[in-house]
Amino acid sequence: MTGDEACAEGALAAGCTFFGGYPITPATEIAERMAARLPRVGGTFIQMEDEIAAMAAVVGASCAGARSMSATSGPGFSLMMENLGLAVVMETPCVLVNVQRAGPSTGLPTMGAQGDMMQARWGSHGHYEIIALAPSSAQEVFYQTILAFNLAEKYRTPVLVMTDEVVGHLSERVVIPDAREIQTVYRPRAKGRKDRYKPFEPGERGVPPMAIAGEGFAVHMTGLTHDERGYPVMSVECQEQMVTHLVGKIRNNLDDILMTESYRLEDAEVVLVSYGVSARTALATVDEARERGIKAGMLKLVTVWPFPEDEIRRLAQRVKGFVTVELNLGQIHLEVQRAAGGRVPAVLAGHCGGTLISPDQVLDAIEQHFSLSRA
């Protein structure tokens, strides 16, 4: 099946019960499969009037207890930023998939890119933390969609799955395990006396237990800066308390959230940092470089956000340099550079999108920038 179809299957395996969508290439197939499948398993699909509405409905559904999601691409992703911010501030679990296509604007609707990675990080206004995953294959889309739901529920936060047109449309073998083998996590729930419950009082791991609509807790949630009761408070102190809490919820749990994979990294002198579809290029390049006697290895980012900067920093102490392989003109590359801290060179092998990066381009970058010992 394709990556898009694997995404829908992953969502269903994760227990998704609500999908609010709007058609957009190359993400439409996710909505189509959910439209057919959700009502058969007791869930609800709705195609809204635009992506703004789709994301608003996703947040609303989550407040009523649904495992809730949407899927889109660049232009729709831009429209969803408004209510993505609402989900962050209301601490509403939900999953948003971006099957990236080349931009800016309408760009190349049918061709892949990874140009939305910084938008994923900072696209909604204000300062916040976000979790973003980046699968490289249909099989990974399946598993990472499940992972996205679990992280969203565990941390009461929106989680982004940043795939792209190539992964979305690529037809590959996907193994779907038995339902019993799939672990699903549901948000921490409000308990105890209803008059004492505070909807934003941090619990375990800093995550407030959530009361859902209709349970009798009479919660108030607002996009305004609010205290633990959920009441708006227009003060510097409350702003500091709320934003620190939102950011801390992610930053203080990096050990649980951060995920990377490595390939031939043990003795590597040059590290290819990559994610999503470009990690496939990076993987092929490592082997080719090794054949040429270059000690290359790959660090693949499963969670692109939060960014595994400690890992890069540690690597910078022992390797000769980094090449970031991504389908843009330098987004995660800048993060790698920052984390490398000028200790070793960090360069980019990327382009504007529309097609994949070839291993040759990466090899050229390696040979141009690094004079490495040949085995």
Binding site: F18, R40, G60, A64, G65, A66, N83, M90, A213, H220
Partner: protein
């Protein structure tokens, strides 16, 4: 501080009293519209534990912040799609949208017509104060022609929405319009709207003395006089005859109450879910 009996209010159980005083200006009509809405909620006998209020942004959008129910103060214009998600995820909930004209009919206009088209089972109470109050009195999609606002300093060159016509034409199955002076009719309408399956819309004309009134040199009491003298009650009036024009007179009443059309949730269940044989 001593609290006396006289300070309690029959609506207290429905209010977040710890959030009072509210932000609404003296002489503003939103408080009356809000209280009427809460009274209707009580009168209708709906299960209030299973009732949620959703607001957008603006003076009226603060409503959700004062009601002691599950209540969501969302983003500007998005109360209706948020409410749609809430309702679809748990169809047992009664979902009430309480918000203003700018929020629901301008920035949220697209969501409004589509929710009406779907006959989405929510109740929308739209407080229409003819301008953007929260931001200091700018022109709205409901500002009468030639009325003055901060962004139409010499008068509004445009024409306002006839909101009941818009709702009706889009597919709303319950449509009414009152002013805050018509408290009894308004309570009745909101009660009916709450009990109506499908998209119900109640427009409440409300004075904004601080911005709209002041810029148009209408004293607070005079605005209420206009509400009394320049309105005509005509239930079942044709939706095309409901223009917002104080010179011609504004028609109030209940205009649409169609119980035959199935609601969005009913239609989804019937059409999309596997049917038991």
């Amino acid at each position: 501080m001593k609290t006396s009996q006289a300070q309690s209010h029959p609506l207290d159980p429905l209010l977040r009293t710890d959030r009072i005083p509210h932000i609404w200006c003296p002489g503003c009509g939103i408080g009356t519209a809000f209280a009427t809405c809460l009274n209707a909620m009580k009168d209708s006998g709906i299960d209030l534990v299973q009732t949620a209020m959703v607001s957008g942004i603006g003076c009226s959008g603060r409503g959700a912040g004062y009601v002691k129910l599950d209540s969501y103060h969302t983003t500007h214009g998005r109360a209706i799609p948020f409410a749609t998600g809430l309702k679809l995820a748990n169809p047992k909930l009664n979902v009430v949208v309480f918000s203003g004209d700018g929020d629901l009919l301008a920035i949220g206009g697209n969501h409004f017509i589509h929710a009406a088209r779907r006959n989405m089972d929510i109740t929308v109470v739209c407080v229409n104060n003819f301008n953007y109050g929260m931001t200091g009195g700018q022109v709205a999609a409901t500002t009468p022609h030639l009325a003055k606002t901060t962004t139409t300093p010499v008068g509004n060159p445009e024409n306002p929405f006839n909101a009941p016509l818009l709702a009706y034409a889009s597919g709303a199955t319950y449509v009414a319009r009152w002013t805050i002076l018509h408290a009894r009719d308004l309570t009745e309408s909101i009660t009916e709207a709450l009990l109506h399956p499908g998209f119900s819309f109640v427009e409440v004309l409300s004075p904004c003395p601080v911005n709209y009134g002041r810029r148009n040199r209408i004293k607070p009491m005079d605005m209420l006089k206009i509400f009394r003298e320049k309105t005509i009650i005509r239930n079942d009036a044709r939706p095309t005859e409901l223009d917002l024009d104080f010179d011609k007179g504004i028609v109030l009443g209940k205009f649409v109450h169609d119980t035959d059309r199935p609601s969005c949730v009913e239609l989804y269940d019937k059409t999309c879910r596997p049917q038991e044989r």
